[in-house]
Symmetry: C2
Subunit: 349 residues, 2 copies
Amino acid sequence: MNIDDLAQQAGEWLRGEGPESDIVISSRVRLARNLQDFPFVPRADEEARGEICDLLRRHILRSEFAQEILYVDLTDTAEIDTRFLVERHLISRELASSEGPRAVAFGANEVVSIMTNEEDHLRIQSLRSGLSLSETWAEARRVDELLEEKLTHAFHPQFGYLTACPTNVGTGMRVSVMLHLPALVYTKQIEKVFNAVSKINLTVRGLYGEGTQASGDFYQISNQVTLGVSEETILETVSRVAPRIIRYERDIREHLMRESRTSLEDRVWRAFGVLTNARVITSEETMEQLSMLRLGVNTGLIDSVPIRTVNELFILTQPGHLQKVAGGHLDGPARDEARASYVRERLGG
Amino acid sequence: MNIDDLAQQAGEWLRGEGPESDIVISSRVRLARNLQDFPFVPRADEEARGEICDLLRRHILRSEFAQEILYVDLTDTAEIDTRFLVERHLISRELASSEGPRAVAFGANEVVSIMTNEEDHLRIQSLRSGLSLSETWAEARRVDELLEEKLTHAFHPQFGYLTACPTNVGTGMRVSVMLHLPALVYTKQIEKVFNAVSKINLTVRGLYGEGTQASGDFYQISNQVTLGVSEETILETVSRVAPRIIRYERDIREHLMRESRTSLEDRVWRAFGVLTNARVITSEETMEQLSMLRLGVNTGLIDSVPIRTVNELFILTQPGHLQKVAGGHLDGPARDEARASYVRERLGG
């Protein structure tokens, strides 16, 4: 298996099933870990980073954390491939744009991925579709324990896991849910959610994490604090808040269906009309129209499109994926054409 | 035959055939005539108007100007019907909104229509699809002569026909062509046409004549001067200018097809996408999208829609027609829904 094999479909987390999957795209747990005997990545020179990478590579592959593991050395990987891995949520934008020895390993179903030499030596991620924080956490912990058997992590008895950035010290854990909140955006109620969420020390981010804009009405809610709280408490906080936002979004959807069904119907069918007919479409507009299409499918207003197709299109229409499918570099205008053509094909337009 | 029978289709001038019909929607000749023995309409009281109307009614019906004549007394006609007749170009907006005894008579194919008690006692109109000014003029003249056999018109040996408004004195003739100029609008070249046309004493108007905005990229080019020129000269002027504008529009279409085919394709297919999927659509947006669809059909970019359907939709989606089809009054929002539904049905969306 190599990266090219992944381009035509999306991983487990996009299958669009799992609990509350009309609103919850995915649940994610990420653990930051560092080796005791090496300097943190920002302070490690090229040589040290090389050693870290080699050491972790051996352990990761030996751990057999997944059935079929793809290990991608990112040192000399083409930009098109790193972009692709970012779009797929297998690596962070930071890892993609940094330099020197670094890698990612992930299982064939893309549930678990392990980055080496990102901000921390190790970043273990578990990502599943729908609201399934316990399973996602269990999976991350299993892999964490598997690796810890053979590695000695930087750990302080009082603080917990030590990390390159102080905001991750303690559990080194970030728990997040990716929510699709088109009705809250459509009715301009989303700000209320942000305000409520920030009061309980949760953070709201866009589709590609820190510093990215929410596009396609996707919002990632995650914990801000990792120090002085247990993993269970973090998990519990997110698990408690997510259903409230879900209910809020769902209530508004029901309200729209009751009170302004025709406008909503108009909006979602127009999105379908544009997606199945456009000959040129930007990534941004695609996200926006797909978001409305997704709302249409999830409210039952549109029943001819499988939700999995819609979910996949969010990712498969990103620049890296498009270029992977096209088999080479495409400039902006060519991408907008290729995107329109791909979307029409997938939606039978 | 009555008005209701007309609602489901459109007349001869919208069949979308005839010379240059990709650009020329219709050719029109209108003659203003007044009876010598009566005051002009603006100066005639209710009683005089009644007499004029009765007299003309007899003559018009007796003239058998068309095979199957529909005579509509507008005195007490419901607003929905007058609106309908305006949309169909059988009566003017002025006649619709004026009061007192007034009427229109037209043949089943709607080529000739005769208004009584509009601004002038008689307004004879001949309207055909495509660029066919000679036939249209021949038809108007035939009907004019037919009526003049039995009527004595207000005529001055030096000036010619006398009319209520001085701008019509002389020939009483207005010759116009309705042009569809989407490429000139799209490339912002339309102003140039206006400037050129106004220099040779021609006027540019919208779809519904004087004082109406050009919607759907339709522009009506007509003569400004009726006095001191012969009918043939007027006809000749419009006949000479129309082909130049047509060539200009056609050149730009070809240029677009050569240089920015993808953008054009995108624009026309998006129009198709919106029209076949919208659940709510205003009259204005419908005109705009239909204009692009028409351009798509006429450039061969879209071949699944017959041009006649597109032409008819411009008229059949107007408020009066929609209400006729619905069989009663529809308020604004209900019309926008009915319009969207009708357009989808006609375009097989």
